[in-house]
Symmetry: C2
Subunit: 189 residues, 2 copies
């Protein structure tokens, strides 16, 4: 007998893994039965828990994004933005991450649902910027963070161009310079 929580978490992980694998193999139109078969679970369980394969995809993307790009709390705006940008850089340089971003974007084009899940992610980032402002740092707003740091990395994924190592820190520095933060000076990292 396994505890429901443990089994539930394993099913979720298996289903996420299945959808990522299928996407990576070019199966961009895989349905719930195909995902369930690959995950070794009953299609009914997938329908009951997620409702549709679009919902599975979104759940996998958000879970992976949260896992690989946690919102940091280093105590300084520069530290936070550099750490977040580097985590995003790593997530997108990973082939699985790129596959998920691509699939997510295709899916967003056909539905309005995912925006809300993504916005909750935006709220976490907003808190990071608000905390910096409350420490008296010249914090940029969320849109600027996305424009300066996230957008150029997404562009590379979408055009199938490589993400050069260190790009995250470089883009973070652009944002912080534009926001009026003094340049980084030998503070390591």
């Amino acid at each position: 007998m396994t505890r429901p929580g443990g089994r539930s978490a394993r099913v979720r992980e298996a289903v996420h893994r299945a959808v990522i694998e299928l996407l990576a193999e070019g199966e961009t139109t895989a349905g719930v039965p195909q995902i369930a078969e690959r995950a070794g679970v009953n299609p009914t369980s997938v329908y009951r828990r997620w409702g549709s394969c679009a919902s599975v995809l979104l759940d996998a993307a958000v879970a992976r994004l949260s896992l690989t790009s946690p919102v940091p709390d280093t105590g300084s705006l520069r530290g936070d933005v550099e750490q977040w940008a580097t985590a995003v850089e790593r997530a997108l340089a990973d082939p699985d991450g790129a596959v998920l971003v691509r699939a997510l974007i295709t899916f967003i084009g056909t539905s309005a649902d995912p925006i809300e899940r993504l916005l909750s992610r935006g709220e976490d980032l907003e808190q990071m910027l608000t905390a910096a402002a409350s420490r008296g740092e010249p914090a940029p707003n969320l849109q600027d963070l996305l424009d300066y740091v996230l957008a150029p990395m997404y562009l590379r994924v979408l055009l199938s161009r490589p993400i050069e190592p260190g790009l995250g820190v470089k883009l973070a520095d652009r944002l912080l310079t534009a926001a009026g933060l003094p340049p980084a000076s030998g503070q390591g990292g």
Copy 2:
């Protein structure tokens, strides 16, 4: 009797229009027969000229992009970048333009072919920047132009967020400020 050039151009326009309409209606997996039927041309003509529906899509995207976003030559870097950014802003704010960008990105994910066509577009922009440098202006490189100006606009298309009027000029100004160009001062436009 019509001249071959005239007829050929009309077929191309009809086929482009057909693929954009089908995409706008959500028919993201339309094949050559469906495109040909909508355009009122023989499928054989489409296969002979384009080879595949992916190729039709790419041709339509590049044609529309060139049409709505010509590479400018105003005589100043600021004028050129602002004019280009505003043209891109308009092309992407248009629903057809957004539909094409989305489809193009999905397609790039499954093929390496389109990159070359897009790169030829990049060469035009590179000439614009080289011309500025040869006039002694502090011109940014092509990657910076794409990162500062194009990427934030694409991000809005991909996340289905509105492109606010004036965004192009705002992003152009960020790029030019970072490149060390003096701020715009009442030079109109």
